[in-house]
Symmetry: C2
Subunit: 259 residues, 2 copies
């Protein structure tokens, strides 16, 4: 039997809010077992770009990353946000170590094809590009990797990535050695059956109930690619995917996506 | 006999200049044996502060670091500069892993006493605050630590440090386990006996010749504290300290400071 591992992703709404981050760090420090944290930070990158007079261009929710924007996201994700999270975790007794994909060659990607849309220095990832042995060695030594969503191409170029994708890529890659649970922390306590009722969390979704939920229109919009990506991770080796509120890491309210 | 280790420090003049950095990375990749790189980045921090409308205040060459300036130096040193260096080293075949002192609890310091001068979030370091076993484990696994000059206090606070001091503190701490050479890369090929003659490098300085050089006025100004710090490192266990030009890492032109 493989040893369990949890890959937890938090977004800009957590890292950007000192109170939420402080609560999350406390919960994360109490979360049992081996764990990897992946964080976003898009809101602060947008604010920093504005302060430096750079225009933020988003296409389909993805940041177009020219050379100047890559400098901003590298500063904000790998510097400001990553070290804020790492220092907070260390104070909570978690032996956190922050990394981009370049550090220890841990996540190598390729620059996204500029056709049909040139996103600039944006990376596409594959589980083959993950340095599983480095991460496994760190976990075996009690170190908690804290990953910012920046990869490299191995040829000196940093690449801006989507934090959800970094998390799922790491989760799939680590499934070779571990029984992986992937947790997406979210602004809601899970997938709701009624968008107006925060208590209507759907506890479990499998592929057949997902089809029903889609056909009934219960699950729609941006939730469809999120759940589709979750099934892709599960079909590539991840044990289960959990969608829950960032402030509820230790409670049981969640949508669990599984086979 | 202890295994050799070289701790190499580069300053803002290297990391700030793409051609010099590229040459340095090539030389560093060919430098034999276990090594740790420590980098500054003050010039870019000053430029970024200016771009964000923050005034840079220096007292006796040290940056006064209020909360906003700490964010800038964290972004610039731990994000922009550190990841530029790491990605470049990875491309040159060096398995670099970038860190601040918070990462892996690797360098813990204390905030400098605000009396008589309040430098803000500036850290004082001691070799006792270095996580020697983490660094030794990384080196044994072929990983090259790349340290930015930011420590933490272990209670969640990041601290801005002087890169020369980070390098000497790491060198002294690692002397417990390794035979350490500390290399300060510099704008000159070594300590000059004639400031107008770049070929007048003094090859060796020990404590007795240092006294003579000072009394004769050959060594003066900012070079005195630099060499005094070198002797402090040597008297605390470091094998030797080398002062040389950043573009001459692989050649023999240098001032070697030893017992």
């Amino acid at each position: 039997m493989k040893k369990p591992l949890t890959v937890i992703k938090i977004g800009g709404n957590v890292v950007d809010n000192p109170e939420m981050l402080s609560c999350f760090i406390s919960d994360f420090s109490q979360y049992n077992g081996d764990k990897i944290l992946v964080h976003g930070g898009g809101k602060e990158a947008t604010r920093m770009s504005a302060a430096l007079g750079l225009e933020t261009v988003m296409i389909e929710g993805r940041r177009v990353t020219d050379a100047a924007t890559l400098e901003v996201v590298t500063m904000v994700y790998a510097g400001l946000v990553n070290k804020r999270v790492v220092a907070g975790l260390q104070a909570a007794g978690v032996d956190a170590l922050g990394m981009t994909g370049a550090d220890g060659h841990v996540v190598t990607g390729v620059r996204r094809n500029p056709v049909p849309i040139d996103y600039g220095f944006v990376g596409d990832l594959s589980p083959d590009g993950v340095n599983v042995s480095l991460l496994a060695g760190m976990l075996d030594n009690g170190v908690v990797p804290v990953m910012s969503a920046i990869a490299h191409d191995g040829k000196g170029q940093l690449l801006n990535c989507n934090a959800d994708t970094v998390a799922s890529t790491l989760a799939v890659a680590m499934s070779q050695e571990r029984d992986v649970t992937l947790v997406y922390c979210f602004e809601l306590p899970g997938v709701l059956s009624n968008p107006d009722d925060i208590t209507s969390v759907i506890p479990y979704i499998n592929e057949s109930t997902f089809k029903e939920l889609k056909s009934e229109g219960v699950v729609s919009g941006g939730m469809i690619p999120k759940i589709t990506n979750a099934f892709n991770a599960i079909n590539s080796g991840v044990g289960k995917v959990v969608i829950k509120h960032a402030s509820g890491l230790l409670d049981n309210t969640a949508t669990v996506i599984c086979r």
